[in-house]
């Protein structure tokens, strides 16, 4: 049946530029370019980005926002309501609430970011190793993770902080912050471990990993060059949202009195100090609480925007 002339024509047809029937979609675009294209169109992304920059500025350069000293106390002004002179009024000790709120940003954000970093490193590493090496390493890591997951975070924090670092006399700012960061990381790593583990397990079975193995790549190389970059997306999303929830968690711990304490300045401490003064002076609590909520919202919105942009099912 194969007529030589027909075959010739077919070949000719293939070379003909007009014969290219399809504007062949450029399917080589990377995931990140696609994601960016989607992201930049969404309002919520830009709103949260702007807020994020504002908060970061607040944390890095508080003097841009206020000239007052957050530690300076005038007892006679205790619990004064907001006025032209002090936009947020004065707190229990007679300190300027606006100033304390601005300066509080730094601690709260630092604790949130560092705790998240520690969680990502600890959880990410264990998750990747568990997924890559599998078998008994995986079993052990998963069981240990479950044990830590068995502690809902406030309860866990209570137990840990209550047993390890009860009222030590005059601990330094640094010690206080470190303890809180460590506790948050200890309670948060199992979830991140699971995310990293499942992302890596999925990536592990892809062909390009088998190919790399066949070419003789060692485990380290495979993990760092191939598995990690492709598992990054869900980790990144979760980390962003976690920063927000850790900032909230720090405040909750401070509220309970087991988190940060004076002389540290944070939103959580400001709220904790004034929780019993709701009737007479809500302003001292609500302004820091408002900033806290807005900051958490910023990170959560940002994380969600990125996640929606990364999700192939929503395209």
């Amino acid at each position: 049946m194969s007529d030589p002339t027909a075959t010739q024509d077919l070949i000719k047809g293939a070379d003909d530029p007009a014969a290219s029937p399809v504007a062949v979609r450029d399917s080589q675009r990377s995931l990140w370019r696609d994601t960016w294209d989607i992201l930049k169109r969404r309002k919520i992304f830009w709103i949260s980005l702007v807020l994020l920059i504002l908060f970061l500025l607040m944390a890095a350069f508080p003097s841009l926002f206020t000239h007052k000293d957050p530690e300076y106390a005038t007892l006679s002004k205790s619990m004064e309501l907001p006025s032209a002179e002090a936009w947020f009024g004065y707190d229990l000790q007679g300190r300027d609430v606006w100033a304390r709120t601005i300066y509080g940003a730094r601690t709260s954000i630092i604790v949130g970011v560092l705790a998240t970093l520690a969680t990502v490193v600890l959880g990410g590493l264990t998750g990747v190793l568990a997924a890559y090496f599998g078998r008994w390493i995986d079993a052990v890591v998963s069981r240990v993770g479950e044990m830590f997951l068995g502690l809902p975070y406030v309860l866990g924090a209570i137990i840990i902080l209550g047993t390890i670092a009860p009222a030590q006399s005059n601990p330094s700012k640094f010690t206080i912050m470190t303890v809180v960061i460590v506790v948050l990381a200890l309670l948060g790593w199992p979830i991140l471990m699971r995310i990293a583990r499942s992302a890596v397990i999925q990536a592990k079975h892809q062909d390009y990993v088998q190919a790399a193995r066949a070419l003789g790549a060692g485990p380290m190389r495979i993990i760092f060059r191939h598995l990690l970059p492709n598992s990054l997306a869900p980790i990144l999303v979760y980390a962003t949202i976690t920063i927000g929830s850790f900032i909230g968690a720090e405040a909750t711990l401070s509220l309970l009195g087991i988190g940060l304490r004076s002389p540290v300045i944070s939103w959580g401490i400001a709220i904790a100090d004034h929780k019993d003064y709701l009737r007479t002076g809500p302003h001292a609590m609500f302004f820091p609480a408002g900033f806290l909520s807005l900051c958490v919202l910023t990170f959560v919105m940002l994380g969600e925007a990125v996640r929606d942009a990364l999700d192939p099912k929503l395209r």
């Binding site: 007529d3 027909a6 077919l10 070949i11 047809g13 007009a18 014969a19 029937p21 399809v22």
Partner: protein, 343 residues
């Protein structure tokens, strides 16, 4: 079917075939533009007949079937022209609740992947019995009995013991039989099988096709078999409609097409089948890619890949030329194609 509907659709009173798709046009409005999925498709099936609809992905064969059933998502889909007549009544003009009654009772459909098409959390017997309970108000006990009977009929071993099992507990072939049982439960007049064997092994394929053929003989239902596999078609079908780019490019009786195709695309498809007596030679494939439904080529949709292409192919859309009472070809030069085949 309800009394009212059956009266409306008096058998044979309209003088046409049981199911007629007439010049159907379906579009999809997407963010990237309008995709013309179905462009003037016409075919028909009568009782006891098997029509095979052949085409690659994107040819519009599944979209047409789903439009017949009325299960297409609209939006983004939209029927922009044509009629679908079932017993003479245009389904597209029926109100939704009447159309719904026809589904399962008048026209039924079997899907490709039974594992995802069956509901994973309900036992298979329950899902089959649902047809009786919902359409006919049958009691639970009676419906269950019928479900077991159906499972027997499609040759599922130990039906009575397995009626409470879940879909994932069956093999692929068994699951497909369950889907078929569900589809023929109410003795529909037309069964549409959308790639029923694509996901199955070759041996199981043959069994399922055999089952479909047998069921059809027993109940005299019309069967529309949608597939891209020429091998499957040859045994079962009476007539074939070949689709490309949302259009029918050729229709014919099965033996007519296999003996001598009248369209370059059909010809290409047949030549792509590996043949034992061509051992050692390079496998043949149609050059090029299927058309982008968002930017269809001008004129004949196949022209970029066609060895018979002339100038007017690029500008003039070929209608379905009538070759005989049973044959048509949408190619300006169908005569040439046939003549060459005869040499």
């Amino acid at each position: 079917m309800t009394e009212v509907l059956s009266e409306q659709m008096g058998r044979g009173s309209h003088g046409g075939a049981l199911l007629e798709v007439d010049n159907l046009h379906v579009e999809f409005r997407t963010r990237a533009g309008v995709a013309k999925a179905v462009n003037g498709v016409t075919y028909s099936v009568d009782a006891g007949e098997t029509l095979a609809v052949l085409g690659e992905s994107g040819s519009g064969k599944s979209v047409t079937a789903q439009t017949i059933m009325g299960i297409l998502d609209m939006p983004p889909g939209k029927v922009t022209g044509g009629e679908i007549r079932f017993r003479g009544v245009d389904l597209l003009k029926l109100p939704e609740d009447q159309r719904r009654k026809i589904r399962g009772e008048g026209i039924s459909m079997v899907f490709q992947d039974a594992l995802s098409a069956l509901n994973p959390v309900f036992p298979v017997g329950w899902q089959i019995a649902e047809m009786f309970r919902m359409h006919r108000g049958t009691s639970r006990a009676e419906a269950r009995k019928k479900a077991v009977e159906l499972m027997d009929r499609v040759r599922i071993p130990a039906a009575r013991e397995r009626v409470n099992d879940f879909p994932h507990q069956f093999s692929g072939g068994m699951r497909q039989r369950i889907m078929i049982a569900m589809a023929i439960a109410l003795d529909p007049e037309i069964l549409i099988a959308d790639e029923p064997t694509t996901a199955l092994d070759v041996t199981v394929q043959a069994q399922i096709m055999g089952l479909l053929a047998e069921l059809q003989r027993d109940s005299n239902m019309g069967l529309i078999l949608i597939t891209h596999d020429l091998g499957v078609v040859a045994d079962v079908a009476d007539k074939i409609a070949v689709m490309y780019g949302g259009r029918i490019v050729e229709n014919a009786l099965v033996h007519e097409l296999y003996k001598n195709p009248a369209h370059p695309y059909s010809k290409g498809l047949l030549e792509s089948i590996p043949r034992v007596d061509h051992k050692g030679q390079e496998l043949y494939a149609i050059k090029g890619l299927p058309p982008n439904l968002l930017e269809m080529p001008t004129g004949c949709a196949f022209h970029p890949r066609c060895p018979y292409r002339r100038d007017n192919c690029v500008t003039d859309v070929p209608p379905l030329y009538t070759i005989s009472g049973t044959r048509g070809s949408a190619c300006h030069y169908w005569r040439e194609v046939i003549d060459e085949g005869e040499r």
